[in-house]
Symmetry: D2
Subunit: 442 residues, 4 copies
Amino acid sequence: MSARLLEALATTEALAEAFSDAAVLGSMLRFEAALARVETRSGIIPGMAADAIAGVSIDAFDPAAIARGARASGTIAIGFVEALRARVRTASPEAATFVHWGATSQDVTDTALVLCLVRARGILAADHLRLAGALRRLSNEHAGTVMLARTLLQPAPPTTFGLKAAGWLGAAARTEASMSAAFREGCVLQFGGASGTLAALGAQGLTVAAALARELDLPLPDAPWHAHRDRLAALVAACGVYAGTLGKIARDVSLLMQFEIAEASEPGGRSSSMPHKRNPAGSAIALAAATRAPGLVAAFLAGMTQEHERGVGGWHAEATTVASVVQTTGAALAAVADLVETLRVDPERMRRNLDATGGVVFAERAMLLLAPALGRETAGRLIAAAVETAARGERSFGAALAANPEVASALAPDVLAGLAAPEAYLGVADALRRRLLGDERE
Amino acid sequence: MSARLLEALATTEALAEAFSDAAVLGSMLRFEAALARVETRSGIIPGMAADAIAGVSIDAFDPAAIARGARASGTIAIGFVEALRARVRTASPEAATFVHWGATSQDVTDTALVLCLVRARGILAADHLRLAGALRRLSNEHAGTVMLARTLLQPAPPTTFGLKAAGWLGAAARTEASMSAAFREGCVLQFGGASGTLAALGAQGLTVAAALARELDLPLPDAPWHAHRDRLAALVAACGVYAGTLGKIARDVSLLMQFEIAEASEPGGRSSSMPHKRNPAGSAIALAAATRAPGLVAAFLAGMTQEHERGVGGWHAEATTVASVVQTTGAALAAVADLVETLRVDPERMRRNLDATGGVVFAERAMLLLAPALGRETAGRLIAAAVETAARGERSFGAALAANPEVASALAPDVLAGLAAPEAYLGVADALRRRLLGDERE
Amino acid sequence: MSARLLEALATTEALAEAFSDAAVLGSMLRFEAALARVETRSGIIPGMAADAIAGVSIDAFDPAAIARGARASGTIAIGFVEALRARVRTASPEAATFVHWGATSQDVTDTALVLCLVRARGILAADHLRLAGALRRLSNEHAGTVMLARTLLQPAPPTTFGLKAAGWLGAAARTEASMSAAFREGCVLQFGGASGTLAALGAQGLTVAAALARELDLPLPDAPWHAHRDRLAALVAACGVYAGTLGKIARDVSLLMQFEIAEASEPGGRSSSMPHKRNPAGSAIALAAATRAPGLVAAFLAGMTQEHERGVGGWHAEATTVASVVQTTGAALAAVADLVETLRVDPERMRRNLDATGGVVFAERAMLLLAPALGRETAGRLIAAAVETAARGERSFGAALAANPEVASALAPDVLAGLAAPEAYLGVADALRRRLLGDERE
Amino acid sequence: MSARLLEALATTEALAEAFSDAAVLGSMLRFEAALARVETRSGIIPGMAADAIAGVSIDAFDPAAIARGARASGTIAIGFVEALRARVRTASPEAATFVHWGATSQDVTDTALVLCLVRARGILAADHLRLAGALRRLSNEHAGTVMLARTLLQPAPPTTFGLKAAGWLGAAARTEASMSAAFREGCVLQFGGASGTLAALGAQGLTVAAALARELDLPLPDAPWHAHRDRLAALVAACGVYAGTLGKIARDVSLLMQFEIAEASEPGGRSSSMPHKRNPAGSAIALAAATRAPGLVAAFLAGMTQEHERGVGGWHAEATTVASVVQTTGAALAAVADLVETLRVDPERMRRNLDATGGVVFAERAMLLLAPALGRETAGRLIAAAVETAARGERSFGAALAANPEVASALAPDVLAGLAAPEAYLGVADALRRRLLGDERE
């Protein structure tokens, strides 16, 4: 089974697979086999050892037994290595001696986690491309779609949906770029032996390490990082920032999808009790991720103060947090990519909602026009009166303002007539939109 | 499989089982069957519906398919109820109509989570009893075992290991009592129907709710709590506080177990590279829990601001967090209970470490004795000199002090001779110990 | 100055005062003076010492110098005690010797923090009373005010604003009760001396401690809690849960206040650029608190694993977190109390918004009525068609349904006619409301 | 006053100043003055306005009143702008009209925060240089200083203090580089007007924005970021990662400084009760920061899901969190830089502690030598026996092993004799050290 019920919304099938027992066992085996190969080539261990290890498949392992054992030894590596050694012994007793040669538990578990992360990175990258493409299309399509801006959930002067979508894209692109860089810098080989000096390999430590890194297609870091977890911390934090950005998009969509606003909507999920309902299920998944991710980031950071050459506790807290934060971010990403690709936008309703404000959102504009002529105090008084009139629904803000002789004397009729024309008060919205979509970004 | 490799240290077998797919499915089925039973009794739905639902077993469900479906609908309830309905339909088409009658998705998923928590509560309670008993025994056994107190990791005047263990017990007992109360208050029925008014049941809503609560052996709360998550929040937070307390015990043990201190040690786990090593594996598990739990608590609290009658995102983030925090707390508890039950204490080494300070930890005592006679300034100067002498290893602090004529004139020889007798400078350590173990507590 | 600009929204004047330098200094002085008094009475120190210490006022201290010194010594107590001793020395050189007699730094700083918390507790309690009263009035006034329930931000069958307000009250009352209990249990004397054994006071330790507790009007705990921070942790966590509850109220209000919904509104704050704007400023403050508090709770919990008899770092992280979480919770509380007291509710708009759904929110009700007669499948098909018709705005859901002959044959005309009457589909809303307001609660 | 007592350990004087009311007011004034200047140059507002605004000093403002007002309006900008306008009016009534022309509250508060951050960045950079220099010297000086590695707080094969210090430097350098980049990318102008379109400036929006950015010496971002907080989030997260790294250094130092280990020590702070104590005060400050920072990061990330064009609550939660996390990171940095610059290292004690293990830490080495000859099983048995002998203190591990005939037959006498020579079992420690110090890094 690739996902569990209580975590159904917190992962995707592909990501659940990337951190599954099969993936972890496969990665640990890859590490041990690669290590044996490079040690064989370096003449450190006999060749038959590498062959015997390479012949073991993940079916040889009982994950439940290894997990149980880990609660006694503090790491899954002990049980894994013992099981591997036992398996190799049945093929070649001598070979068993050279299993895990010169490595320490953390070498194999950290590198296995890194290999799982490399796989996850590919999944995230593909979904981000999908999201970015959909946002770009959406922004271009709605470059001229005028809608209310909303600040503190209250109507503000207009903007365009194209700029809104471009803002989402800008943030998604920036944070994905950071996340991607953090994966690149964080996904490096762990190989230091018992004390991080590779002492077991004598003078050959660095040569073996470099070969092992090549074999696993991972960069070789300056030095082992058994107790220096900053690279993983940066990766986890970057996921948190990206999840927050995805949550912002989902927040906006879930708000736009309110029945009373109805400017955009995702296809949505059904309800078990209400036949008429269409729930923002994708937004819910992304907002759930944005809710959980900050705590997961904190959980990782809180474990960074690891003691000396290998910590007690801090390190042991990491794996599940890393797997959780990457999966929840990926679940949000897949959900938001789906959602944006299928978003239904209603430009007409956007216009209707804007019109329904009776023009009061142009009060700022009126102030800019009137204040230089009448002074800010007087202008403020006249505008407040017109806002009141419009709020009572008697007439529009523009009409109420125009009806005032002081205003009429200060502003030309055509200025007054165009006061509440949204298209005339978009400032540099489209220039900003194009900057956000700028080629330099992707 | 009851646990996964990357989460091996973050749960126990019993707790992994309590939140497994089987447990969740079983709990959801229990809810639907109980609902049908009480609705049958109230004459709301026909009796055959209850029978048909009661006849379905958890094997009828495909958790992976339900999880997959949840990513489209936002909840596992939709897929579960549909599968249940389909299953019931094969037995009785009419019965299928009455599956989930009057309930909403959140009713079944929240109550199922609560039923899982009830099961977890029993597991935690049993392990706590074990821990409390072991701590009590340890404290009584070492009531007179003198050791260094250590503040900011530096030697301070002596305490007893009995008081230290009693302090652990006091904190564990207080926080478990809070946690247990939070479970009791948090594990209540969720049943409100689509809008939390039980409208589908007409005037019978409360009667049905009360009967359903009895049937499931859960308290009936004042009202549904679809968007009021404070009870679960308190439960999660209480787990976090308990995990922190367990982490404090583990921190102390891991420090006492340092080779250079060696005053107490857990049996410990082995190393994959170092045959001589005995790792504080139990402490590591508990410290890992104390590292993760704060972030998990934050993850839950961050989702509390749920919209109107059912939130979008906040609610969807909860289940995995609740399951994680309870399991990690339980893993810490099991590990610390094991650890304390098997802790090896070395009173002799405690004494040796105390003696190795050369008596400087009695400098405070010397100050209290000398300052009234000589004034704080003079006393301070003399004591500092004696501390220096002791630090150079020339003679003990007491001897150095006694050698000074000013001191000798101020203090009687027997007072001076007993200055550095640990037993004479324990204050009310044992009274405090007994207060902490007080019968009123357990 | 009682608050700082960057923290303006994160406190109130009263709470900023309660954690101000003056309050901290005053509390530390109170501790030292009370200690001297009880030690005088017990014959441990001479009476003139108590008098001299009691004569010192907080003006004698330079907070900036003490803060600077703390960065060298790790605690503000050192500098404070030295300054106090120097001050006392000017009055009585002998008395200076007995300043802080038998106490340790943490005794004075922890107890001072507790005294600040006692003051804060009173402020919070008063504001909660105000909030609870206003919510009760609101709920009673709107017991019969029908409105849309909203789940996942989508319209659901109706509820009443009275039930909504009662739900807010229920949650606020529960969480305040927990918070209040946590303050009561957490605000206890800290007094243990250097190693937590009160060794400096010989056999009189407990007597002095009990007298000191009485003198400061604080409960005496079982034992010092220098490294056991669970009580403060529970207090901090309870604030976090309460802040989350306040945030939920604010979330609802900010959503109801949307221009397009406009069912309730707070008087609100102005905008610096938009003359027409009325911002949900109170909601913003409460939501800000609910955003920050989870992380602050995590920050406290993460420090609980304190080493031995006094921790290094964990303890040092606490004071600012405690002060922040209490202040931000109190800021939210004051804002929400203000907001609820002045909330403008628009029952007519609530009704209009409900009507605007065209009755589709009664689709569940239709299902409950039709499914027993026609089977769930057929009923589902007919209802979906009627929902579609209503969504297109052609006619209301009820009318569309009634127009279908299958439906007409299954349901009596009066049932059909009343299908979409909100008052007839409120279930036990008012019974739940009254339960939530139940006298047993307050 | 530049710092408050309860926050004494959570900032430094320089950083407290950088986020003080004076700094905030000064930055807001700088924004408004610069805005007026560039708008004057663009012919948007009359020149006298710029002059009048430039003439106002921060003394004209009452921070307490502004903070009080912010609790009604939701932002300090309203009160600030009103006070500024009032002040300008006294000089020039016409000029008052043009204060804050075309800007929105968030433009001035966000940019002011950014200007404070620019100042903080300089402080952090200087302290990091100091730290990096001290670590490099320490590492070079102790390139050959042999000491125990310690994993899970248990002795492991030897390493060098030079490598340990280089590991600290490597992590500090990596994380500071990330933090510095995040400051660079996060410290950009905020300027978007009411809706983020700069509508008030018509077609001149981007020109004015670019000129304003130049005037304030800040980069101009693609677009306003009123509701896209990812840049600040990345900055906050990077501080968290750096704080974690500093905490790791402090953790190690506080452990090395234990009386029973005593391999390195910071000068340390005094105790208020214990004249002999030397507390790791610098480590405590850094560990406190590492304890708090994760929660602060979570607090920021939790607020990222900001609604539409300006959020309600999420944004309002930010300023205090940003100021806190930067200050606590800077406090840790200053403390660790001080600590490392003055660290006393005791190579002799390091050697003695290593020797005190009786050579058991070379058990891994023995295994690597014996296993190929005798098989892993037999080797394991012999080594375990020798470890036991050494643990009983009868003879050293090496001697016990050499006394066994099976061993003696398998290993040459000189190999056996050198088995427990630390210098011979350091692997590539120095190569790793040099890689970590590599010129490419700084």
